[in-house]
């Protein structure tokens, strides 16, 4: 395990005044992984600044919409309680969990922030140039806004296609412009006016 990785919890706690949940583990070969879940996404830049000072680099960013846990039926007259993530963001199946994976000399520290649906998160690009493409990809796959991104254009997906593609079901035949057997066949039949 990297020495840089040691003693990160206390300074991270200081950098994120709203609070963190910190867990770490080491595999059989001595490679460490740690997770720092931030209670507030507003602490992200401060935590990232601390990691930059420690020589970390952004490896990648994973974004997902965790499925909501099954909730017990509400009692009569009571409003249903929506479960929340650490920090209070609703765990409703629509909120985003963003995992920023930092490499610290071989070990990986993942800083996790939770953002409600339609929310906004600060760009890491002022600190890490390498966050540019992952953030652009995150914007086209999900309906999340990255503030202060220097180049918020589409990365891989054509601008003609509506955003947030991972939140929607797109038939494969539409995705590949009917270049697939059944869709293509139906298109040809429709165009020639014949019925098979």
């Amino acid at each position: 395990m990297s020495k840089l990785f040691e003693g990160l919890e206390a300074p991270l706690n200081e950098a994120a005044p709203a609070g963190i949940q910190y867990t770490r583990r080491t595999d059989a070969k001595g490679v460490g992984s740690a997770w720092a879940r931030l209670a507030s996404k507003d602490d992200l830049l401060r935590a990232a600044t601390l990691l930059k000072q420690r020589g970390a680099r952004v490896s990648t960013i994973t974004i997902l919409q965790p499925k909501a846990p099954p909730a017990p039926p509400p009692k009569e007259g009571e409003t249903p309680v929506v479960p929340t993530f650490f920090g209070g963001v609703p765990n409703d199946g629509k909120s985003f969990e963003i995992n920023y994976h930092f490499d610290v000399d071989g070990d990986t520290l993942t800083v996790v922030v939770y953002v409600p649906f339609g929310g906004e998160v600060a760009s890491l690009t002022p600190l890490y140039r390498a966050a540019d493409w992952p953030e652009r990809e995150m914007m086209e796959l999900y309906s999340i806004v990255v503030s202060n991104h220097p180049d918020p254009r589409r990365l891989f997906i054509d601008p003609a296609i509506d955003g947030a593609v991972l939140e929607r079901l797109i038939p494969f035949s539409a995705l590949v412009n009917s270049a697939t057997t059944k869709g293509l066949w139906e298109k040809i039949l429709a165009q020639t006016g014949s019925n098979a």
């Binding site: 595999d27 070969k29 490679v31 490896s59 995992n99 000399d105 990986t108 140039r129 390498a130």
Partner: protein
Amino acid sequence: MSTFTIPVGPLHVALEEPMYFRFDVQGETVANVDIHAGHVHRGIEYLVTKRNIFQNIVLTERICSLCSNSHPQAYAMAVEQIAGLTVPPRAEYLRVIADEIKRVASNLFNVSVLAHLVGFESLFMHVMEIREMMQDVKESVFGNRMDIGANIIGGVRYDITPENAEYLKAQLDKVEPAIAEVTKIYRTNGSILGRTRGIGVLSREDAINCSVVGPVARASGIEYDVRLKAPYSAYPNLQVPVHTLKDGDVWSRAMIRLAEAATAIGIIRQCLVQLPDGPTACTSERPAIPPGEAIAKCEAPRGELIYYVRITDSPRPERVKWRVPSFMNWDALRFMLKDAKIADIAIIVNSIDPCISCTER
């Protein structure tokens, strides 16, 4: 002097895969470059969540053919971490052998294309011929030339018989001197040096800034190799030399790849000597995979490949995310191509050993 814009790609004779560049040029000199990606974006990260944990071994191998072994390996490593599976020692060595065989073939492919772009066709064909010996190895040992299907969750799918080991050693005995011979040509030949020395320079500072990985980083003086920084499989038991150079030009990147191909042969030989007896997988049945999350990294031929896997109580993973080495290295092209000559564009782009299917998924 007036500035004008020239397109390169998306289909270009020098690029094996589609990528579109818009160059602002002043006369013969590149002033600025804009990269437009997405021509082979297939939504594989979405497809992975629609298949079960075991089917994804097959799917991840098909993200890209050049680093096809690294994807299922890193994916399997992440799943094994979640499930607490211990890969048997023999399987760990067999994983390294598969990895290094792919590395030799992949690196030789890139340096051969460099010779082609320089216009040194006989060298191009000669290096491809050497690579062909490694293709024969893959076909003989694994049954396929590109997607070798070596990994399963908990171990490997193949084994090396004593007969196979003898054949592999015999092939390495032929490939090793051939690599040494071409390395000498790349080091001394005027045509190669004239087109590659001092071309497409990436300084150490810019390399750190762009977070480049693999041979691109090591050619700019960054001593980072996942096999040593985050050891996995049998690498902790093996001598793995790390090669670095300082100049960060096209030539340095090619020399690093040649050196790493030669080193890979040494690593395969060490594995064949040390190869322990025992099973090739931790279980003969499909292991149970509990919910959890994990990160795994490995050193693909182009550099650090990282996988993040999240599993809930469904047989399908909730999310699998991977970042390939090429994804980081594109950005560095802006520095390498700054003030480059138009004639050097293809050579510089090839020097990051770009893998577009990997980048776009």
